[in-house]
Amino acid sequence: MKKAYFGEFGGQFVPELLMPPLIELEEAYEQIVPSEDFQREFNSILKDYVGRPTPLTFCKNLSSELGFNLWLKREDLAHSGAHKINNTIGQALLTKYMGKKRLVAETGAGQHGVATATAAALLGLECIVFMGAKDVERQAPNVKRMELLGAEVRPVYSSTQTLKDAINEALRYWISHQRDTHYCLGSVVGPHPFPALVRDFQSVIGKEAKEQFLEKTNRLPDHVIACVGGGSNAMGIFYEFLEHREVKLTGVEAAGEGTPNCYHSATLNKGTLGILHGTKTYLLQTEDGQILPSHSVAPGLDYPGVGPEHAYLKETKRAEYVCVTDEQALSAFKVLCKKEGIIPALESSHALSFALNLKGKVKENYHVIVNLSGRGDKDLDIVFKHLK
C-alpha cells in the first residue's frame, strides 16, 4: 500500500508549513514508538496508572435473555472513564521523548480534552485544549475538569463552534508553535501518521480482548462491535482481529434522530468521499465540498468525518458499518443500567444497541464482544433530559 494511505484513503493534505512537524512525528512513530524503552514505559503507565488490562465482562443476565453470549470490553473502567486515555498517554509520552514541552488538543464533548489534560498532568507537560464555544457551554463540567487538571481551555468562536472548528484551531496553533508543541489528536483521523499512531496506541484494547477471550473460552469470538465517531475505539478493538477473517467486525455510527434530512454522524453510511483535516475519507458535505454540521445525542460521535482506515475496511468489506438512532441508543443505555448494573457512555450505547438487536438472529453458541468505550456519568444530564 502507498505510504500514508489505506487503499485510496488517508494521505497528508496539510499546508506545507505542517509537513516538517508531520515528518518529525512520522520518524518518531517509526523509531521511538517501537523502541524497548518507550514500550516499557508506556506499558507500565497503562498498567499502574490507567489500570490495564481492563476486564472482559460476561453479561450473564442479558445473555440469557438474548439467547446468545454477550461480552463487554470494559474501557469504561480505564482511568478517566474511557478508552481515550490509551492514546493520550501514548502521545504525551512520545512528546516527552521528542523533547517538546506542550500538548495542544481539540475536544468536542470534552472526553479527549480531559484525557489529554490527565496525561499532561501526569507527565509534566503544558496543555492547551481548543473547544467549540457551543461545546464549552454544553459540556461545562468537562471544562471544569480540564481546568482542575491544569489545562487551559480556549473556546473557538468560528463557524459552527463545534469539534471540527476546534480541530481547525488546534491545527492553526500547531503551525505556529510546532517547535515546542505536539498536537495530540484524539482519534484515528487527520493526516498521516495520526490514523496509524492513534490506532497503534489503542490496539491494546483488541490485544487484551483476544487474549482474555481465548483464556476464558479457548476460541475466538464470532463478532466484535464498536461505535464509530472518528473511529479510535473501533480501530483499537478491530485491529487485532483483522487477520482472523472468521471474526465479524461491525462499526456502529450515529444516525441522529433518524428522520429524513436530520443532522446525523453516519459518515460511512451516508457520506461521500472528500478531504478534510488532512485526510481523504468519507465526509458529510455538500455537493460543493463544504462540510456539513453533524449531530448525535452522543457528543463523542458528533464529527462529520471518519478515520481513513475505516473507509478502507468498509471498501474491502472486512468490516461492516451500520447506524443506530439517538432513541435506540438511549434505550440500550437503560437496558445495560438495569440488567447489568453498568452505566455506559451514550457513544458505547450505540454499539450495544446493535448487539441487542442480534436477538433471534444468531445461535445460542454465538459470542459477541461489544467495546464499552466509556462510562456514562458524563452523559447523565443528556439522558435525564431525554427520559422526561
Binding site: L17, M19, R172, I175, G289
Partner: protein, 255 residues
C-alpha cells in the same frame, strides 16, 4: 518554451524596478456584486495578479479575517461554478492575470480534470491549493500542466533546504513564500529569519518569488526587497474594505 504568463509579468516589473502587486479577495465578498466591482477596480489600479479565494468551510491555513470573509462568501451562495461562470464573462475586462486560491476539497469535488479545463476556458492562469503539499500534488499536477495552468506551490520558513530542492523540481508559475510561521493575517513585523531563508530560496528556485501572509505595508518589505519579485496581501485588503475605506487609498502606498 516561451515565457509563461507569470514570468512575463515578473520580468516586466523587474525591468521597471518594481514588485508584482498581488491582492487576494475571497470570491463573493463582501457580496456578489461588490466583489466584481473590487476586482475591476484593483485591476485598473494596477494589480498584476489577482488571487481569487475559493471559499471553504474549514480553512486551516487562514486566520480570523480571511475565515470570516470566506464564511460570509459562502452565505452569499458562492461556489466554484459561480466563480468560473462569472470569470468566463468578466475576464475580458481585466488586464491582470487571475489565480484561484483555495483548499483541496472544493476542487476535488468539482473534479480536477474538469476544473483545469474550465479554468483555462475562463482565462485563469494558475491555482494555489493551501493544503496540497508536494507529496500529494504529484498525481494532480500533470492535469493542470496539460491545460497550461500553473500549480503554484507554497513554501515557508520551516521548509528545509532538501524540501525546497524537491519543490524546485516541480514548481511552476512562481513560488509563494509564506513569510510567517502561522496563518494568514496582517502582522506588524515580519520574522528576523525571513531574509536568510529568502536568500536560500533565491538560490534554489529559477522562478520568481512572491511573499504573502502577514503583509500590510511597504515599509515591512524594505529589508527583503532584493529577494522577492511579488507581494501578496489578503487580510490587510479585507480589513481595509471592512472599514468602508476606498480601495484606492490602500493601493496608493504600493503602486
Amino acid at each position: 518554451m516561451s515565457l509563461n504568463k507569470f514570468e512575463k509579468i515578473f520580468q516586466d516589473k523587474q525591468k521597471k524596478g518594481k514588485k508584482a502587486i498581488m491582492p487576494f479577495l475571497p470570491a463573493g465578498y463582501p457580496d456578489k456584486e461588490k466583489f466584481w466591482e473590487y476586482i475591476r477596480e484593483m485591476d485598473q489600479l494596477g494589480a498584476d495578479i489577482i488571487e481569487i479565494g475559493v471559499p471553504f468551510s474549514d480553512p486551516v491555513a487562514d486566520g480570523p479575517v480571511v475565515e470570516k470573509a470566506s464564511n460570509i462568501a459562502l452565505k452569499n451562495g458562492v461556489n466554484l461554478k459561480w466563480i468560473i461562470d462569472n470569470l468566463t464573462e468578466y475576464r475580458v475586462f481585466l488586464d491582470c492575470e487571475i489565480v484561484l486560491m483555495g483548499y483541496c476539497n472544493p476542487f476535488f469535488k468539482y473534479g480536477y480534470e474538469k476544473l483545469a479545463k474550465d479554468m483555462k476556458n475562463a482565462g485563469v492562469s494558475g491555482i494555489i491549493i493551501a493544503d496540497l503539499p508536494l507529496e500529494e500534488s504529484i498525481k494532480i499536477k500533470p492535469i493542470f500542466d496539460a491545460h497550461d495552468i500553473s500549480l503554484i506551490y507554497l513554501v515557508g520558513l520551516n521548509t528545509s533546504k532538501e524540501r525546497l530542492e524537491k519543490y524546485a523540481k516541480f514548481a511552476s508559475g512562481f513560488v509563494y513564500f509564506v513569510s510567517v510561521l502561522g496563518t494568514t493575517g496582517a502582522r506588524d513585523k515580519l520574522p528576523e529569519e525571513l531574509k536568510e531563508k529568502l536568500k536560500l530560496a533565491r538560490d534554489i528556485f529559477d522562478l520568481p518569488i512572491s511573499i504573502g501572509f502577514g503583509i500590510k505595508s511597504p515599509s515591512q518589505v524594505k529589508e527583503i526587497e532584493e529577494y522577492i519579485d511579488g507581494i501578496v496581501f489578503g487580510s490587510s485588503v479585507i480589513e481595509h474594505i471592512n472599514k468602508g475605506k476606498d480601495i484606492k487609498d490602500f493601493f496608493k502606498a504600493w503602486i
